[in-house]
């Protein structure tokens, strides 16, 4: 298969931009991310990851692919399976037909992942582009080079139970539209994203969610060790493979820049710059947290909370800017 592997910052937006580009609809990763209105923030204490609350910086898994395809009018087929045998057969069929196939997998069971990155996370996306000598050829968007994986390992990774269980999820693109009305879609996507970030009815989502997390940090109780674990967890959710909080802000800023050029709109270029500053604030926050965790002094909770509030205010500022643009 004549397939062009592209490394990307995030697995889901990377997989879908590769899939669409392969079908002749060339789209960059930031554009895919932005048009799926994927930027978000959520602090969800009832979903525990290793005993700590889930902190998400983008929409939940599958939402990017579904949202983008719906917005663009792309025909995409999702398949889940009950039996691993059926799933493996269906995958082999598609590969034999020369189709590019997207899969949802668990990171822990992918042998090519670095040992220290293999945590239990069930919603990692990758592409299968062929099979040679009984081994699947993989394009994993977060790696710079192509990978190979034995059928046994891949089947295992596709059929993990637990939170966000992939159930063998496999997806292929049926059809792509010949023309896309970018000005209209960009406006729609930004408007929708604005609602997620500033208009959610729950206090744990969007800009309010960031302030909520600041409050949680301020009132953190327990031993110093517990506090360290909690704060370290926030940084991991923010920066490690698959999540990347500051990273997502930069991806979105890149989308705004691309949109500004496409529509020749200066207001979007300004918003892109402001979003870049937000990303930088998040990175500074991560630096500050790790510094606090490493020092022997008691953790300066108020200081960290204050930093987060600054991020929240900056992010609210960007959305205000975009709100004015959207209205005008």
């Amino acid at each position: 298969m004549n397939f062009q592997h592209r490394q990307s910052a995030h697995c889901e937006s990377g997989v879908i931009s590769s899939l669409l580009s392969h079908q002749g609809l060339s789209i960059s990763e930031p554009m895919a991310f932005g048009l799926a209105n994927a930027l978000a923030f959520a602090y969800i204490p009832i979903v525990k990851i290793g005993g700590q609350p889930l902190v998400a910086y983008r929409l939940p898994p599958r939402a990017i692919i579904k949202g983008l395809c719906k917005r663009l009018g792309v025909g995409v087929k999702f398949h889940t399976f009950k039996s691993p045998m059926d799933a493996a057969e269906a995958l082999d069929d598609c590969v034999a037909r020369g189709q590019l196939v997207g899969l949802q997998t668990s990171v822990y069971y992918l042998p090519y992942f670095p040992e220290q990155m293999r945590f239990h996370f069930n919603a990692h996306n990758l592409l299968v582009y062929g099979k040679r000598d009984g081994v699947y050829q993989i394009s994993d968007p977060v790696f710079e080079e192509l990978m190979e994986i034995a059928p046994r390992d891949l089947n295992k990774a596709r059929f993990v139970r637990g939170p966000l269980a992939p159930k063998g999820l496999m997806y292929t693109i049926d059809s792509v539209p010949s023309e896309i009305d970018y000005p209209r879609l960009i406006r729609q996507a930004i408007g929708k994203n604005m609602k997620v970030m500033t208009g959610a009815p729950l206090p744990v989502i969007g800009v309010r969610g960031i302030r909520h997390m600041a409050k949680k940090i301020e009132h953190l109780r327990g031993s110093e060790q517990d506090k360290r674990l909690y704060l370290g967890h926030i940084v991991r959710m923010q920066e490690e493979i698959g999540t990347g909080g500051a990273g997502f802000r930069f991806v979105y800023a890149s989308f705004l820049q691309e949109a500004a050029q496409m529509l020749n709109d200066n207001a979007l270029a300004e918003a892109s710059q402001a979003m870049t500053d937000v990303g930088d604030l998040w990175r500074e926050f991560a630096v500050a947290v790790v510094k606090e965790c490493k020092s022997d002094r008691p953790i300066d909770r108020a200081g960290l909370a204050e930093r987060l509030r600054v991020s929240a205010a900056a992010e609210a500022g960007v959305w205000d800017q975009l709100k004015r643009w959207h209205r005008g």
């Binding site: 490394q7 910052a9 670095p114 040992e115 220290q116 239990h120 920066e239």
Partner: protein, 135 residues
């Protein structure tokens, strides 16, 4: 973030791989830049890895002393906890907890053992044994 600010800390956690980040070049244009790691991120990752290792060590001791079944060690060794293991196997939490008792574990049916073995990606025989070396 500017392209020259993209961290290149060669983190061991990346195992020689590189991650893509988006950053602005001198003219302010966004482009993808590979990063070989960031010390800040690596510190958080290594903390988590160390925590899992410490739990596995403690579990090994418990099992070695005969207070817990080997299942308890393998669970921690695979970076899992009770909640996750129960979700991965589809067994109720209280049942999993019960299987931490050496006497109950010794009488487990091959079917249940196979379920644990599958979740942890080891053979059932391996599951009933404790490695000789403390990890």
């Amino acid at each position: 973030m500017r392209t020259d600010q993209v961290p290149q800390d060669k983190s061991t956690t990346y195992a020689g791989h590189k991650k893509l980040l988006y950053a602005q070049d001198e003219s302010g244009r966004y482009c993808g830049v590979q990063s070989s790691g960031w010390a800040v991120e690596a510190a958080a990752t290594l903390d988590a890895v160390a925590l899992y290792r410490e739990r596995a060590r403690q579990a090994w001791q418990e099992v070695h002393a005969g207070r817990k079944s080997p299942l308890y060690f393998h669970m921690h060794h695979c970076r899992m906890d009770l909640v996750l293991l129960s979700q991965l196997t589809g067994l109720w939490r209280w049942r999993v907890k019960r299987h931490f008792a050496p006497r109950v574990f010794a009488r487990l049916s091959p079917a249940i053992l196979a379920r644990y073995a599958q979740a942890m990606d080891v053979s059932p025989a391996q599951l009933t044994q404790l490695p000789e070396q403390r990890p």
